[in-house]
């Protein structure tokens, strides 16, 4: 038995399909089974993009009325599975909603989960996912050994989104069952933290700041440099935890995965947690005063020096170019 039926937990922001969803649909479409997108809420205008990336069928839960998606979507998935349309694999994006839905479903179906994966391979009956550990220096291959469906979550940017699949995208309603106490959480207000410039995970240039900046005020240099390079400012977990910048700036295992043309790491030593989020950058420039810092092991250009000297000089030089 190979893979006949693959589901992807699909997300959209209004009518725009999430990039992570399109990446997973594209990968699912290469694994040789029929591909289904399972949407929290309704697919709306994103349905066309889901179909273009391989979704032959699109299940919609309908409006969740402010409920967090974990209990409701997993309940809807379970109902479809019990109704006879049982997938071999369900792929989730490694993000807030993806792991909540996957976690709830794993208990409902009594299935193990594998998370933080960056690849999936199918060999006959066997399905294996690959997960980087130790800052991406080792790759662990884990095989599912139990009953299907297999539940796996993948980091963003693990796969290329490829349109042009021309799948049918037939929309089918899939309602959640009675949630009882588990449905007790409701979103009462949504706050969007406005940022100017390109998005952190889409920018061609990312400038990341870390503990080596010394104090929160010095982060302004990172923002100035990012702006000059039409890039996005990012941060290590250390300075996010210290409250210098919001969580949305965080690059790393628990933050964003970035793969820009250039990543400039300023005052970042290169902890495992951070490296996982930026090692895939096409080019890396590192500035750090400790020449033993692990970040130099992955840098194309490493400057052993003081960020408080090098950054102002760099900023002045770029400003002089206009």
């Amino acid at each position: 038995m190979t893979l006949n039926n693959i589901w992807v937990f699909a997300q959209a922001d209004g009518d725009t399909a999430s990039t992570a969803t399109l990446e997973l649909l594209s990968k699912a479409n290469t694994l040789g089974g029929s591909v289904t997108a399972f949407v929290a809420g309704s697919a709306g205008g994103a349905a066309a993009a889901f179909a273009d990336h391989g979704a032959a069928k699109i299940y919609e839960t309908g409006d969740l009325a402010g409920a967090l998606p974990g209990p409701a979507v997993s309940s809807a998935m379970q109902a479809v599975i019990n109704g006879g349309d049982a997938p071999d694999v369900i792929m989730f994006p490694q993000n807030y909603e993806g792991r909540d839905v996957m976690a709830r479903l794993s208990v409902k179906l009594d299935r193990t989960v594998l998370t933080n994966s960056t690849d999936i391979t199918v060999d006959g009956d066997s399905v294996t996912v690959q997960t980087p550990i130790f800052g991406g220096s080792k790759l662990v291959n884990s095989t599912f050994t139990g009953e299907r469906p297999f539940l796996a979550a993948f980091r963003p940017k693990s796969f290329e989104a490829a349109g042009g699949a021309g799948a049918a995208g037939e929309i089918v309603a899939a309602a959640a069952g009675e949630l009882g106490a588990t449905g007790g959480a409701t979103v009462t207000a949504v706050h969007v933290e406005e940022t100017s410039g390109p998005k952190l995970d889409e920018a061609a240039v990312v400038v990341g700041g870390g503990r080596g900046l010394g104090d929160a005020e010095k982060y302004e240099m990172i923002e100035t440099l990012a702006k000059l390079l039409k890039g996005a400012p990012g941060a290590s977990r250390a300075i996010v935890d210290a409250g210098w910048v919001p969580y949305s700036y965080q690059v790393g295992q628990t933050g964003k995965v970035v793969k820009p043309t250039v990543y400039i790491a300023a005052g970042i030593s290169g902890a495992t947690q951070h490296m996982v989020g930026m090692k895939g950058s096409k080019n890396i420039i590192a500035i750090n005063k400790d020449k033993e810092a692990p970040i130099f092991g992955v840098a194309d250009l490493g400057i052993v020096g003081d960020v408080h000297k090098v950054l102002p000089q760099l900023i002045a030089a770029l400003e002089a170019r206009g």
């Binding site: 967090l68 209990p71 997993s74 993000n95 807030y96 792991r99 909540d100 709830r104 794993s106 208990v107 409902k108 193990t112 989960v113 594998l114 998370t115 220096s137 080792k138 790759l139 662990v140 291959n141 884990s142 599912f144 050994t145 139990g146 009882g180 106490a181 588990t182 959480a185 409701t186 979103v187 009462t188 207000a189 949504v190 706050h191 969007v192 933290e193 061609a204 240039v205 390079l229 935890d241 409250g243 969580y247 295992q253 628990t254 250039v262 400039i264 090692k279 420039i285 020449k291 992955v298 250009l301 490493g302 400057i303 052993v304 003081d306 000297k309 090098v310 000089q313 760099l314 030089a317």
Partner: protein, 255 residues
């Protein structure tokens, strides 16, 4: 206001991690410490109990070899007691098994209004245990909490999102997972450290919790070295190296 906090005791993250060559799972047979990301949950629980003016904080943990070093740290911060599940049969357990075991341990920990956990551990970082535990217990849950306020029978949580944050209201009892950096964890006082030595730790096995057959449906088949990223040029700053950076950026046509 009784709060249960799930805490993990992990190998010191400052030391290089090592895999057991026979199982390819993380070696956990050395000394373990309190996962720093759990200290935030402990602090938040202590503050909630303090605000309520009554109740206590109980710890729940699963660790090999009856390990209590990390629990003692959290007890020294002010938690009252702990339930520790320690069982060789649980070595290498998956997240689902861990969630079932912790849910069982919570059943022994007494009455509770709220369960707090970290969003993910710093060593295994599967990131599903709090939500799985909630499902096992039939409770609602809110992940990625930045703030928690208890108001009668409900809890109000600011939950981090990709774009900012959501305000969420949730009925109690509930499971809430917290991120690092949300509060400033207190340092245990000398008095706290001394008191922690005599606080009760109820050590049990999986069978004591009524969990008999333990297995998980995944297996590590191999571990590969990742293709190494070649280190490039590393130069000492002589006051002029910013020019090198400008040249490099120029070469990539990003300026």
């Amino acid at each position: 206001m009784n709060v249960i906090v799930c805490v993990k005791q992990i190998p010191d993250p400052a030391l290089p991690g090592e895999l057991d060559p026979s199982t390819n799972t993380l070696k956990r047979d050395g000394k373990l410490i309190l996962d720093e990301s759990d200290s935030y949950g402990v602090e938040m629980a202590l503050q909630l109990v303090n605000t309520a003016g009554e109740g206590s904080v109980t710890l729940v943990s699963m660790a090999p070899n009856d390990e209590v070093s990390g629990l003692r740290t959290a007890l020294a911060m002010g938690a009252e007691k702990a339930v520790l599940v320690s069982d060789p049969a649980l070595a290498g357990a998956d997240a689902l098994t861990t969630a079932k075991v912790l849910a069982g341990a919570i059943g022994r920990a007494g009455d509770y209004d709220l369960i707090i956990a970290g969003t993910e551990s710093s060593d295994g970082y599967t990131g599903t245990v709090p939500e799985q535990m909630a499902e096992v217990l039939g409770l609602p849950s809110v992940g990625f909490a930045k703030t928690i306020t208890v108001d009668g029978g409900t809890v109000k949580v600011d939950r981090q999102t990709e774009a900012g944050y959501d305000e969420v209201t949730c009925t109690l009892p509930a499971v809430v997972s917290v991120t690092a950096g949300v509060v400033e964890p207190r340092y245990p006082s000398f008095k706290g450290i001394m008191a922690a030595k005599s606080k009760p730790v109820d050590t049990v096995t999986a069978a004591d919790l009524g969990i008999e057959a333990v297995s998980w449906a995944q297996q590590i088949t191999s571990v590969d070295d990742a293709p190494a990223r070649e280190a490039g040029e590393v130069i000492e700053d002589d006051g002029e190296t910013f020019n090198k950076i400008v040249e490099f950026l120029d070469g990539l046509k990003v300026i």
